[in-house]
């Protein structure tokens, strides 16, 4: 009954979306207030209905209702509760339901908090959001219904892939989707602006917080997935340039570019058409990612060909969305002439360089990801495009970007002074030279090590120089500087945090790529292996029983210079229901590097095991750095200026006579 209720709610949500996609759009065209107001009610109604639908599916998982096919395939009564809940979205059908739930959530957020958006813009944005929703409701209801019953019900389910039974991965998809799908609202704003034929500073200001929110979620989602791979897959890798990873990285790259180009639209009313284009492309790449992951086209073209319904549906959706958007863009884009003039060396120039490099990087990654598919499709044979290609293409592009990242924020708008900025960065240059020299003189160093560390130091110190300049550090008394620091706009602090975070993350990426150490061997109890400056003594392994798995747990005593450091206990888990094994690495994180041990197969009968011991230098800096980037985004989101769309800002708005006029202008144009 409850399951049917969920199914019914989803169908109802589709009906509401159809209304939300048509009436408000007509209302905006005819300047008919009540019709436009339908959007708000419908958007809130949609989120309630999809939320109910999702809750019904989750209920089926929680109570292990094995008369539901989806639950049978992806759950088991013995699974811990956390993974019963996360099992709701740990499968194709459920994850698509999560997709539309988040889509509806963003629509409702705009409906609820966008009270002082111009009514026509809001109506059109929500209508476009509903169009996307219609496509995905149809997709779920016609090809991927999670509420299908299975009669008679089996005694128990088939279980969830043990690799997914991990707290990191339980929350990875929702975060990632909040980012992925979050860009939908930016897309809807862009399409609405194109329909109105108007993009201005106010538009950019309304759009930026949504872009930022989506970016924060996407960054956190990607990082969580990367972190999960690092500790779960058992060899300490954290990025594989895998097509599915690339699918999430592509919208991140263009989304980051969008975040920066929207600043130019807001401050200088230029780069308008480009920003709209980026908004369309970013969401387009999110859709493409969904298509790549959901259609099975990546596994093999054959898998796609044997069950093409889903793939073809999403592909069709992709073609309609992108084709329609680009046609609209080609028609209306040229009208969006920009205003502000600027010299090449200026803040605008720096942000343009950022956009050029990030877009090129995105295009290069897209090319590499799709090339094997395209080549095979045109009968050009099979080719693999792997990490060596992506590293060769991507890493060199990032060099100039990072160098420019320290300079750009020091340049004023319109016209900058490059030599002046570089003079202020002398200390960053010194830091870069020192860091490079330090890296070069280490064992096993490479040019990559030197360049990576030098750039990280350059960017970190350069970012601090910018902050010091803003608060007049050492020019004013320290207390005055601190007062200035507290008084800085949150968005400025957010930028500092995010840029510094990237610098710190680069330390981790470089360190782990260049100085990683490993030892693979068979160890009998009592044997000791030295990796780097630590010695690891294997004390044997014993059997452990988990909630739904059996494990072998090894014990390693770790010492450094004869002093005990820690005890590491890696596990190998066997999941009898799913007939699968996982490796649980034992990790001791330190700022200099992670001590990382995994347990392999048993060798001979004397308690000996294959062991893999790694030293992953500076990897903690990577997670810290990404954490700072996310933190920077959140701080920036808290900026007062961004809350123009929030109810609290209404008073300021009605106080200024210019605002309603501007809003009216949008309506009449």
């Amino acid at each position: 009954m409850i399951v049917e209720l969920g199914h019914f709610a989803l169908i109802l949500a589709l009906a509401v979306a159809v209304i939300q996609g048509t009436l408000p759009m007509l209302g905006a065209a005819r300047n008919h207030g009540p019709w436009m107001d339908v959007a708000r009610t419908a958007a809130l109604g949609q989120v309630a209905l999809v939320g109910l639908s999702f809750a019904c599916l989750m209920y089926a998982y929680v109570v292990s209702d094995f008369s539901v096919l989806n639950v049978v395939r992806n759950s088991h009564s013995l699974k811990p509760m956390l993974y019963k809940v996360s099992g709701t979205w740990g499968n194709h059908e459920g994850s698509m339901l999560l997709w539309v739930l988040i889509l509806a959530l963003f629509g409702a957020a705009v409906a609820a908090w966008g009270r002082n958006l111009p009514p026509a813009l809001k109506a059109r944005t929500l209508a476009v959001q509903a169009w996307i929703a219609i496509g995905f409701y149809l997709f779920i209801l016609l090809t991927s219904n999670p509420f299908t019953r299975m009669l008679p019900p089996p005694a128990d389910g088939l279980g969830l892939n043990p690799l997914l039974q991990d707290p990191g991965l339980a929350f990875h998809p929702p975060l990632l989707y909040l980012g992925y799908v979050g860009f939908s609202i930016v897309f809807s704003f862009a399409i609405a602006a194109l329909i109105e034929g108007r993009v201005d500073a106010a538009w950019a200001r309304w759009v930026r917080p949504w872009t930022l929110a989506a970016w924060v979620f996407l960054t956190a989602g990607i990082a969580l997935g990367s972190w999960w791979a690092y500790y779960e897959l058992g060899w300490g890798g954290w990025w594989f340039w895998d097509p599915v990873e690339n699918a999430s990285f592509l919208p991140w790259l263009t989304g980051t570019a969008l975040l920066h180009s929207a600043i130019v639209v807001e401050k200088r009313e230029t780069l308008k058409a480009w920003t709209i284009f980026l908004a369309i492309v970013t969401f387009g790449l999110s859709l493409l990612g969904t298509f790549l992951v959901r259609s099975g086209v990546l596994t093999s073209v054959h898998a796609f060909a044997t069950d093409p319904t889903r793939g073809v549906f999403i592909l069709l959706l992709l073609v309609i969305v992108l084709g329609g958007s680009f046609a609209l863009f080609a028609w209306r884009g040229p009208q969006l002439a920009g205003g502000g003039l600027f010299r090449p060396v200026s803040r605008e120039g720096g942000l343009l360089l950022n956009n050029l490099i990030l877009s090129t990087a995105a295009a290069a990654v897209l090319l590499g990801t799709l090339y094997p598919l395209m080549l095979e499709a045109v009968g050009g044979g099979k080719v693999s495009v792997g990490p060596p290609f992506f590293n060769a293409v991507f890493v060199p592009l990032m060099g100039p970007l990072i160098i420019a990242m320290a300079v750009g924020p020091l340049l004023p708008w319109k016209r900058g002074d490059l030599s002046g900025a570089l003079q202020r960065l002398w200390i960053a240059g010194v830091a870069a030279a020192l860091a490079g020299a330090w890296a070069w003189t280490r064992d096993m160093s490479t040019l990559l090590g030197l360049l990576g560390m030098a750039m990280a130091a350059w960017l970190l110190v350069g970012t601090l120089v910018e902050l010091a300049g803003r608060i007049q550090l050492f020019r004013l008394p320290l207390t005055d500087s601190l007062r200035r620091l507290i008084g800085l706009p949150r968005s400025a602090i957010g930028m500092t945090l995010a840029h510094a975070g990237l610098a710190i993350a680069i330390v981790g990426m470089t360190g782990d790529s260049v100085w990683k150490q490993e030892a693979i061997q068979v160890m009998a109890p009592g044997e000791t292996v030295t990796v780097g400056r630590h010695s690891y003594t294997f004390e044997g392994a014993r059997d452990v029983v988990g909630p739904n798995y059996l494990a072998i747990r090894g014990t390693f005593r770790v010492e450094r210079d004869g002093r005990p450091v820690t005890v590491l206990e890696p596990e190998r888990r066997r999941y009898p229901v799913e007939r699968n094994e996982t490796t649980e690495a034992a990790i001791h994180p330190t700022w200099l590097g992670d001590l990382y041990v995994t347990l392999g197969d048993s060798q001979g009968g004397n308690g000996a095991f294959v062991t893999r011991i790694y030293f992953n230098p500076f990897i903690l800096w990577l997670w810290t750095g990404v954490g700072l980037m996310v933190g920077g985004g959140l701080v920036s989101l808290a900026d007062r200026r961004f809350r123009v769309g929030a109810p609290a800002a209404r008073r300021t708005q009605s106080a200024s006579p210019a605002r309603p006029a501007a809003a009216k202008e949008v309506v009449t144009s």
Binding site: W235, G296, A364, Y371, A585, G600, E665, S669
Partner: protein, 163 residues
């Protein structure tokens, strides 16, 4: 085959990562490792360039598949016979085809792949330079007269404005 099926399931299940079918600590086993560390290091480098043909996007260095193990042993055997890195790669490619190379070869079918990023960067740079030149021209934008529509709207707005 089971690995393949499991991999396919993982693709559908995981939003971000595509995994090897099994979760073992992957790759090189102790009994494969060469006693000469310099030779072993070269073998690892080569291993990272070669695709495990039965896996999803994994190098033979990371994979647990039997085939990957066979290929690792093959690479080490060739190295021990004194092949250069290039010769080893060529030998493996001659046996398994171009698909085995994670770094695609530079040939007719991949010109677009390898030159694409540079072409995109060039096109982008030209577009940016043209745009910036236009932006930098000291043309007085403010002197552009209002269009009729703008004038009408301005008049309307001024009328609405309380004095």
């Amino acid at each position: 085959m089971t690995r393949r099926v499991l991999s396919a399931a993982a693709v559908l299940l995981v939003a971000l990562f595509l995994l090897s079918g099994t979760g073992h600590a992957g790759g090189v086993q102790p009994d494969e490792i060469l006693s000469d560390p310099a030779l072993e290091a070269r073998a690892r480098e080569i291993g990272r360039e070669l695709r495990c043909l039965v896996c999803q996007n994994q190098s033979i260095d990371e994979s647990n598949a039997e085939l990957a193990r066979d290929m690792r042993i093959l690479v080490r055997a060739r190295l021990q016979e004194g092949d250069t890195d290039r010769e080893v790669l060529d030998y493996v490619v001659s046996r398994y085809g171009d698909f085995v190379r994670l770094r695609p070869p530079f040939q007719t079918s991949t010109y677009l792949l390898w030159c694409g990023p540079a072409l995109i960067l060039m096109a982008g740079t030209i577009a940016v330079v043209v745009f910036v030149r236009n932006r930098a021209r000291t043309r007085d934008d403010a002197a552009r007269p209002l269009t009729d529509a703008e004038r009408a709207r301005l008049a309307a707005l001024l009328r609405d404005q309380p004095r």
